[in-house]
Symmetry: C2
DNA sequence: ATTCATTTGTGAAAATTATCACGACTATTT
DNA sequence: AAATAGTCGTGATAATTTTCACAAATGAAT
């Protein structure tokens, strides 16, 4: 779809830029420089300008960027004009946290259905999201392309298979399992234990001295 | 500390390798090739060999790697012989999920204390972890160098300041706020909304066709 | 013993990402 | 109107990360 010429590293930062532009807009600011933005999102200002430049000349020399214009641009680039429905699989502690988390603000991504293997949870409603039994995937997953996976690691592989069969195209995997999927399915991993361990490792082996000027 | 010659990209993968080696070891396997490992952790086998090579010649040509040996090596590299205490700041939904999450398995990182601004939570115990009031940071944070930040975004900046004052050196930040810290403090961000938005963006703009052979 | 299928470790190349540094342009002040 | 301070966009460069591809070594099979 469209130009796949935007570097992945840039693409990953877009949602971040988007959020901060929203903040600025709500604060009533209508002008921002790459330097200011840099301080807010902790990304080098040259990197920000380079990132923006992939989409054309969005700013004005000697002035900066118009917040509203930039925001509008990113809104359409990030497809924020249409709502994306997301299913949450596994209503445990972490899953519940997601259901109560409001993605809503400044964001058109919504968790619209939750699924869990526990029959007692089916039929309930958490954070305004209806919970169904995991066996109802086939009936309820119609039209949903993205799933958040917060089930126990032992279940990850088998449930992933079901999700794939139901036509899910993207999975945000919070389980420690590295799930196997067909090539056309995109999986992003967020491994909490690995992140923590990694932080501890960096702390001990990479003493910080200078990061930026 | 020690050789800071290991690329950051490699360092981030170490905990992942460590976990899978543990799995293999528990399954009773005593030999593994980079190719097998590659399939398990979804990292190119050449990358794995390169990663390992930074620590010297850990394998044997034509044979692969000895699981137990490699595991022992990583255990000491990742400082798994000594326990790292971690404080959890903000016992909301996400924080509670962490407290109930067992990092324990194969891992010497422990959340030993929780803190929250709600006086009703102080004095309680979640998942075996005692919860204190946020005002008790000074008394209770002695000797703890790492904190997980799961407070509301609005509180992130002010609480971070307190943590820094108490001598915290590493923060795993789950709030959407990009916190400001002195140069010697390491912060890793995990931004749930950004991750989800990013996944959706990739889904729409980067159709997958071929990833690996 | 010899052959054969494996598999590591790594030089070299490729790909990706980040940063420097500056010309060109803008707004503001004097 | 001229001078000044600020800012973008980007060519060029640097830094980092990944991947290719193969010699050397190993173990198993014949």
């Amino acid at each position: 779809m469209e130009q796949s010429k935007i570097p992945q590293a840039t693409a990953k930062r877009l949602p971040l830029y988007y959020r901060f532009l929203n903040n600025l807009n709500q604060q009533g600011k209508n002008r921002v420089s790459s330097k200011e933005l840099s301080e807010a999102v902790k990304v080098d200002s040259a990197t920000i300008r380079r990132d923006f430049s992939y989409f054309g000349a969005l700013g004005k020399k000697g002035y900066g960027y118009n917040v509203e214009y930039l925001l509008g641009f990113f809104r359409s680039t990030l497809d924020q004009h249409e709502t994306t429905e997301v299913a949450l699989i596994g209503v445990g502690n972490l899953g519940t946290a997601f259901l109560n988390y409001s993605f809503l603000k400044n964001n058109n991504i919504r968790i619209t259905k939750g699924f869990d293997a526990n029959p007692e949870k089916a039929g309930t409603n958490i954070g305004g999201v209806p919970i169904y039994h995991i066996d109802e995937l086939h009936e309820k997953l119609e039209g949903i392309r993205v799933a958040i996976l917060t089930v126990p690691a032992t279940e990850a592989e088998s449930i992933t298979e079901k999700l794939v069969n139901e036509g899910i195209e993207g999975i945000l995997n919070f389980t420690p399992a590295r799930i196997s999927v067909p090539e056309h399915i995109r999986v992003h991993h967020i491994d909490l234990a690995v992140e923590l361990q990694s932080l501890v490792y960096f702390l001990k082996h990479y003493p910080l001295d200078s990061k930026k000027k």
